[in-house]
């Protein structure tokens, strides 16, 4: 009786989670999950490679931080500069471009700032800055946040010093979109998260298609030389899978309402201009 009891306690505490499949931890950006792509890819990865990929869904900043501490086996993020720093710091041997889509600026349907017919991203941001409008910023050091800051800098605008109200919310993509929907504000978002977002309210895509808005995702296996207890084998097999024709088919084939969310491969390679 006593033994049975202790076994029961053990099962309770460990969850009885008999893990036969090989596991690895992958820190991914919120858009990978909020877009719904992870739900398509993970079962296929499990079926093809036997790897049980455990997702830690955080912003790009925190994902790379987890990689720096050796707490995950690999990261899948979208901020080239931060990724290159990560590789330069010796935390990953290289970065490999897996897929891309684009960022879009969404805002209230009425478009009070009139960015809908702007022909460049610079014009669109300049109109936003001068308008009596609100702009929601992720403010969480994520890939999307970093890109937004790069865009403002590129347009020569300090978003906190203009007529527009700049709301830095320090939250993930979904929460930030909820705030923008509630406040009738403009916001920069990746197309995948936007299409899969259920609370669009009055928001519409107002500006898209500029070359500055390409959103490249890259896979970085965390350095196995630096952290010896990582599952480097699984990280390598996952990379092989992500660059395989099977992944290409699934990623290119994933669409919502007839709209393709991601393109497999490297944006730079597909469009050398």
């Amino acid at each position: 009786m006593r033994r049975l009891f202790s076994v029961l306690i053990l099962v309770w505490v460990t969850g009885g989670a008999a893990a036969w499949a090989e596991e690895m931890r992958l820190a991914v950006t919120t858009s990978f999950q909020n877009s719904g792509l992870s739900a398509v890819l993970l079962p296929a990865i499990k079926a093809d490679t036997g790897i049980d990929v455990r997702l830690i869904v955080v912003g790009t900043g925190q994902a790379l931080r987890l990689g720096r501490a050796g707490d995950v086996d690999a990261v899948l993020v979208h901020s080239r500069k931060a990724e290159e720093d990560f590789v330069a710091g010796g935390f990953a041997p290289y970065r490999r471009e897996i897929m891309y889509n684009d960022f879009v600026i969404v805002g209230p349907k009425a478009d009070p700032a009139g960015i809908g017919d702007a022909d460049t991203i610079g014009t669109a941001l300049a109109r936003l800055a001068e308008a009596a409008a609100s702009f929601v910023s992720r403010g969480d050091d994520s890939g999307t946040h970093k890109r937004e800051l790069t865009l403002w800098t590129g347009a020569g605008i300090d978003p906190e010093a203009v007529a527009m109200r700049y709301l830095s919310v320090g939250a993930g993509m979904g929460t930030a979109l909820n705030i923008a929907a509630g406040a009738g504000a403009y916001i920069l978002t990746d197309r995948g998260s936007w299409l899969n977002f259920a609370n669009k309210a009055d928001l519409r895509v107002l500006f898209a298609g500029a070359p500055e808005l390409v959103n490249q995702y890259a896979y970085l296996p965390v350095s196995a030389e630096r952290f010896t207890n990582l599952n480097a084998g699984a990280a390598m097999r996952l990379e092989e899978w992500l660059t395989s024709p099977q992944a290409k088919m699934l990623i290119n084939g994933y669409s919502i309402d007839g709209e393709q969310l991601f393109r497999w491969g490297s944006a730079a390679a597909d469009d050398p201009s």
Binding site: L55, V57, A69, D71, G174, F197, A198, N199, K200
Partner: protein
Amino acid sequence: MNDIVEGLLHALRLIVTLDGDLVEITLRSLRVTLTATAIASLIALPLGALLAVRRFRFRRATIAILNALMGLPPVVVGLIVYILFSRSGPFGVLGLLFTPTAMIIAQVIIIVPLITSIAHQALRDIWAEYHDLLISLGASGRQRVATLIWDGRRSLITAGLAGFGRGIGEVGAIMVVGGNIDHVTRVLTTAIALETGRGDFALALGLGFVLIGLAVSVNLIIHSLSGTEVGSRW
């Protein structure tokens, strides 16, 4: 307003169909928080009794600090536990990060001060009554603590349930140390945060109602098991 009705309907649908994912994350929520509450009670109840019985130099400061720690922000606890159990941290070799065990550890830290403070408050009053009797009987320190805990068991159940309540609704710490990994560390609160992020308010609210129902059921079960509030007694 519509969202709330839709959320209720969603909750009903999930419960009636015994949705597999819902059952899984609900059981995990229960497992993590009940375990944390049990461990925390083992630490906190004797500690609360000791604080009531013993007189020592920093007693007042200890009580004040425990009271203040009742308001400990979970996300700070999560961050500290994360740093301790990160592979680069002092306990990294244990490999506990992003497991339910790490979530239990974080919740124990969060609820120990709460249970201790409530237990101390309740036992202090009993101690005032029992003081002369226990001293004149020559009861040892251990016997005094045991007597207080036994005779104060009803208030201590309340203390434990308060701890359970704080744990089951908590999201900040377990999000950081658990990582909200599907089928591994996802619990009701982190699932609610995730669905809110996806803008699926109906599902998020549905899960929220399930969470509330769960907390109420646990409280009812504990109360009926311990025979409190029976009709014949005031």
